[in-house]
């Protein structure tokens, strides 16, 4: 081990990548020391617990070849300690894939996202320059053009824009803002990593529940608003307030 220290050092510089989308998360593990990477992943997941809990994820193990015990431990750690739901395991190693199959997981060689995209360059680099971002500290956004139906969840580290309705029983969890161009009837959780400056905007806001950061607001039971107007939900003095949407133009 001692003679390959320099090599190992450069390799552990590779970061674990976690991407979100409407098909669930992708956890991509780079080459490097397995134990250290496990530690690193555990820390990431522990840090923003509320954001990750219950998320469905697939894991791309890349070049790692694990034995059955290692893989089972890894799997146990993800589902028991971090409460993730693992849907698929990707590995270039055949033996590793066969152990994953034993756990009744979907397996593959490389995750489709990892095949097509160069590692995350576009996502991490802000495209807009010279604009100060007041609420969320990220300019990542995902755009979903479909109706979100009961049981469907969008979980994204960034802002979420839905062009379509979100039906009761659906869920959007974003670390940034949530914008729905359509009727928002499901649950919306903005600022899921604790940012209470985030907002939920909808052209017709009828959400069953809105959460911003750790603040939870329930819909009022009275119905029958005449014409839907675009509204925005935000946190004021520790409570969620809903007001008509006014776009401020400054400068």
């Amino acid at each position: 081990m001692s003679n390959s220290v320099s090599e190992e050092e450069t390799e552990t510089l590779n970061k674990i990548i976690i991407k979100g989308g409407k098909d669930g998360l992708l956890i991509s593990i780079p080459d490097g020391n397995w134990v250290e990477l496990l530690q690193q992943l555990s820390e990431i997941l522990e840090k923003d617990k509320n954001f990750w809990i219950g998320a469905s994820a697939s894991v791309d193990l890349g070049n790692h070849s694990l034995d059955e015990i290692q893989l089972n431990r890894f799997y146990e750690m993800l589902i028991k300690r971090h409460h993730l739901i693992i849907s698929a395991i990707y590995s270039k190693d055949e033996a590793t894939r066969s152990f994953a199959e034993k756990l009744k997981l979907k397996v593959g060689k490389v995750h489709p996202l990892m095949q097509t995209q160069a590692p995350n360059i576009i996502q991490d680099a802000p495209i807009v320059s010279g604009v100060s971002n007041s609420s969320s500290n990220t300019s990542n956004a995902t755009y979903i053009k479909q109706t979100l139906r009961s049981g469907q969840t969008v979980r994204f580290d960034g802002n979420v824009i839905v062009y379509g309705d979100t039906n009761p029983g659906s869920e959007i969890i974003a670390s940034g803002d949530i914008i729905v161009i359509g009727t928002l009837r499901g649950i919306a959780h903005a600022g899921a990593k604790g940012n209470e400056n985030c907002q939920v905007v909808a052209t017709n806001l009828k959400a069953t529940q809105i959460r911003i950061g750790s603040v939870i607001g329930m819909s009022s039971d009275e119905k029958n608003q005449s014409l839907p107007v675009p509204e925005v939900a935000s946190v004021v003095d520790g409570k969620i307030y809903i007001s008509p949407l006014k776009v401020k133009r400054t400068g």
Binding site: L148, R149, S150, G151, Q152, D165, N167, G169
Partner: protein
């Protein structure tokens, strides 16, 4: 050749899937189509009862996939219609007795002899649902005009949309009660469609005749005085591509008697 494979599904139980399947199958056969009904509700079969064919079952779909009999041996001809058949489910066993792949194979084999394969899907979203929808290219989603049924139907539509194969989806609003809709005590068809957003193919009114006829082993579509039977017949025609207008759910009240009634019933 290639038959149309249509699944009747709902998510929630007790909304009228099996009754709908039996009646639509019979109606389509009456219209001249060669129809086979598949009961995918393994372990909780009902379709044979509604069809009045229970006493004729010798083999079932699990016998077919486990190769204890030929597919043709398991098919039961309808009592009246020569061009209508049923592939029953076993009353023993459970949903895991059949896999989606086996279901696809069974449908492929049936495609040669029939025009329409109508699959009665069990309630729920587990294995039974996966089996029933595996081979289908069209889905009839049955819902009642009440929130829990709509919520489950929405989940079903979402699951069907996430399948790799393209599936046409049609909505049947079952057991609507015009007089309650009129008084704003029940969700109307527009409310249901507003949420689900899929094409409406039929509205079936709540009809005591359905229960009466079912217990006599007669189907509503074969009964002259069933309003539900008429609505189901219209759906069958629409499935065949005929343009049948939707009759109004209730007459607009402009008659004198209605005015009097309204005057008396006002608060």
């Amino acid at each position: 050749m290639g038959a149309r494979v249509i699944v009747v599904t709902s998510g929630k139980g007790g909304v009228g899937k099996t009754t709908t399947t039996a009646n639509l199958g019979t109606a389509l056969a009456n219209l001249g189509e060669k129809v086979v009904l598949i009961d995918a509700d393994i372990g909780l079969r009902n379709l044979d009862l509604i069809m009045g064919l229970e006493n004729r079952i010798v083999y079932d779909i699990v016998d077919v996939v486990e190769e204890r009999c030929k597919l043709k041996q398991a098919l039961i001809r309808d009592k009246k219609l020569n061009n209508l058949a049923l592939l029953p489910a076993p009353q023993t066993r459970d949903k895991s007795a059949v896999t989606p792949e086996q279901m696809i194979d069974v449908c492929k084999e049936l495609e040669n002899d029939f025009d329409i394969i109508l699959i009665d899907c069990p309630a729920g979203i587990e294995q039974g649902f996966q089996n029933a929808t595996a081979a289908a290219t069209e889905a009839l989603i049955v819902t009642n005009p009440e929130v829990s049924s709509i919520r489950d139907a929405d989940r079903i539509v979402g699951l069907l949309e996430s399948k790799p194969n393209e599936m046409k989806k049609f909505l049947i609003v079952n057991r609507i009660r015009p007089e309650m809709v009129k008084k704003n005590e029940m969700l109307n068809v527009d409310d249901v469609q507003d949420i689900l957003g899929i094409e409406l193919i039929g509205v079936v009114p709540d009809d005591e005749e359905i229960i009466k006829t079912a217990n006599r082993g007669v189907l509503a579509v074969n009964s002259e005085n069933s309003i539900a039977g008429k609505a189901l017949m219209d759906i069958a025609k629409r499935i065949r591509g005929e343009k049948i207008p939707f009759p109004p759910l209730f007459e607009e009240d402009n008659g004198f008697v209605d005015k009097i009634k309204k005057w008396f019933s006002r608060k």
